[in-house]
């Protein structure tokens, strides 16, 4: 064979690729299209309208759940990013020692633990604490979200730190910067893209969470995803599609910013 092997020229390649894309995006496309349906069905098209967006916008429960989601995601993402930054510095700016890779695993373990296990464990723990303290605010959800967001924030920050030249910190120390000054003036500015990437990843992951939230939340603490889950058990109207579409746009927006930041750093 004189020609170079090219996967794109294999028989059936484009067919398989088209089917895959179709299966991935058709449901989402349908969902977005029916958000603009004038009728009450999510399957029968009755003309274009923005009524479901208006309805969702005027639905106090949706507004409450959205605000709560944003509140929890912001708090959890910020706390998780701070902790992840400290963990990343502690695991990259130290001489290698036995047990270091064990620590990596511990930090990243939440990625591997089945979410339902985590949810049940947190439910049991938090219900005890609720009895002892009587506190039943959003704190539990924030703590829970922080916990599973840490590894997502940790990974981009650690990647950034590992690609950073250690000589820069040494140069700062050589030029009379105390460790704190060296961190603030040299390491932190160079670390920013990683931190922002970690923050946004954590934010999206928290915003999107259903299982753990469903288990941990008290009455009246619905986030947008758990509210939608609750609604789907009753009547399904294109209002759900409208909310989902806005949610999708928000996530896409954040991911796009994330993409541009991570591209900028290269």
């Amino acid at each position: 064979m004189a020609e170079r092997f090219d996967i794109k020229r294999q028989v059936g390649f484009s067919t398989v690729a088209m089917i895959c894309f179709f299966l991935l995006y058709l449901p989402i496309a349908t969902l977005v299209v029916y958000a603009f349906n004038a009728g009450t069905s999510i399957a029968i098209w009755e003309g274009f309208s923005l009524r479901w967006f208006r309805q969702a916008w005027n639905n106090q429960q949706v507004i409450d759940a959205s605000l709560r989601s944003l509140q929890i995601a912001s708090a959890a993402a910020i706390i998780a990013t701070i902790l992840a930054t400290m963990a990343a510095i502690a695991t990259t700016r130290t001489a290698r020692y036995r047990g270091l890779s064990l620590k990596y695993s511990f930090i990243n373990l939440p990625l591997m633990i089945p979410e339902i296990v985590c949810a049940v464990a947190l439910l049991i723990l938090f219900s005890r604490i609720k009895i002892w303290t009587g506190y039943s605010g959003l704190g539990y959800l924030i703590i829970a979200h922080t916990a599973f967001c840490i590894p997502f924030a940790y990974l981009p920050i650690r990647a950034r730190l590992e690609s950073m030249d250690l000589a820069l910190e040494r140069a700062a120390a050589d030029l009379y910067a105390t460790p704190l000054q060296a961190f603030r003036r040299v390491s932190l500015p160079l670390l920013w893209p990683g931190i922002i990437a970690g923050l946004m990843l954590a934010f999206v992951i928290s915003l999107d969470n259903v299982v753990i939230t469903e288990f941990v939340k008290s009455g009246g603490q619905d986030t947008l995803p758990t509210y939608m889950l609750g609604q789907l058990r009753r009547v399904v109207t294109p209002e759900m599609n409208a909310i989902s579409t806005v949610f999708l746009l928000l996530s896409l927006g954040i991911v796009t910013i994330f993409f541009f930041i991570s591209r900028h750093k290269n």
Partner: protein, 376 residues
């Protein structure tokens, strides 16, 4: 941001040595697998001196530099800066600055901000910093580049910025860790001259680390030749080249012929030796060295002359094996009676002709002080 750096070492009684390294060892690893990077090194570096640590990679020269900078701490021994022990101080308390091998410029700062960094950390007033940065930019001819980011300038320019940044806080000693190794040949030559100029203009003691003997010989006031964690010899370029203290130094610096010989007798600082090929030679000796038995005689290729052997003149005899033309000079490879190869170097002129062809019998004429017997 401004912190009082009053605890940076203030030097009350300057002594005539900028740096004194006293019995410094650096041993890495646990007891089972210890690696001695430096083994009890003593060296004194004078004020306003261009001092070079020269040796092959792994000889401990960079370790010694890191100990002086404070990036590492000695296992034992003292490092005195103008008479005061700095070995236990962290790097930010030592009035010593470093030019790093890969420059380590801060990529998120402009050229001017890089140069200002040390001064800002010392808490100098704004107008003083500004004036000093201007002065430094002028010193390294980088006025045009002051607001560029360090990623936007060439390697040679980065080198200049790294120098300016390290010189700006007026350190007592400037450490240079193979700073020219990333530059191409022409630029390296240029920077060698530039470094010498900066050193004499600023009057700061330079400690320069390199594995390049030519760099060391041309730039340094004095050189310390190192290998395997110890210093073999400290001296001027001429001393080290002409009077190497031992076999390692003679081998590392320049080209040298090594000949096996037996000592016949010694008197004062001279020895009479018999070469493996039978010839008797008169050779110089290092101080306090009375060799006996088997020794190595060293002779620089340019301290020997070649002549066609017609049986009339005495000298070391052999057969010419190879003639290698280098442009500036020609190397003649001579196979001696004992089997060793001896290289003779001759400076070329535009009209010099090679009268000797490979295969002819030749003799080697030596000046009276060409041969040295060295410690192994």
């Amino acid at each position: 941001m401004r912190e009082n750096k009053g605890d940076i070492l203030l030097l009350e009684n300057p002594c005539r040595f900028a740096i004194e390294v006293r019995g410094v060892s650096r041993i890495y690893g646990a007891s089972s697998e210890r690696v001695t990077a430096l083994g009890g090194v003593f060296v004194s570096i004078r004020e306003n001196e261009f001092f070079t640590l020269l040796g092959p990679s792994g000889c401990g020269k960079t370790t010694l530099l890191r100990l002086i900078a404070g990036f590492d701490f000695p296992t034992e021994g003292e490092i005195l800066l103008h008479g005061q022990d700095i070995a236990p101080l962290p790097p930010f308390k030592r009035p010593v600055n470093t030019v790093f091998q890969n420059y380590a410029l801060f990529p998120h700062m402009t050229v001017a901000q890089n140069i200002a960094f040390g001064l800002e950390m010392l808490g100098k007033p704004k107008d003083e910093i500004r004036a000093r940065v201007d002065e430094m930019l002028k010193l390294v001819h980088m006025e045009q580049m002051r607001d560029r980011y360090t990623g936007q300038i060439s390697g040679g320019q980065q080198q200049r910025v790294a120098l300016a940044r390290a010189l700006a806080p007026q350190p007592k000693v400037l450490l240079l860790d193979e700073p020219l190794s990333a530059l191409d040949y022409k630029l390296r030559k240029e920077m060698q001259i530039e470094l010498k100029r900066l050193q004499s203009e600023t009057g700061i003691t330079f400690i320069f680390v390199t594995h390049d003997q030519e760099e060391a010989l041309t730039m340094s006031d004095r050189i310390a030749v190192m290998s395997a964690g110890r210093i073999h010899q400290v001296g001027t370029a001429r001393e080290i080249y002409d009077r190497p203290a031992d076999r390692f130094v003679a081998d590392f610096i320049g080209e040298t012929n090594f000949l096996q010989a037996t000592v016949v007798g010694t008197a004062n600082d001279r020895a009479t030796v018999r070469l493996a090929s039978g010839e008797i030679l008169d050779a110089g000796l290092p101080e306090r060295f009375k060799p006996q038995g088997e020794v190595t005689v060293v002779i620089r290729p340019e301290h020997a002359q070649l002549f066609a052997d017609d049986g009339e003149e005495s000298g070391i005899k052999g057969v010419l094996e190879n003639v290698v033309y280098f442009g500036t000079d020609t190397h003649y490879h001579v196979r001696l009676g004992g089997g060793d190869i001896f290289i003779v170097r001759r400076q070329n002129t535009r009209t010099s002709v090679d009268v000797l062809e490979p295969g002819v019998p030749v003799g080697i004429r030596l000046g009276s002080d060409a041969a040295l017997v060295l410690r192994d």
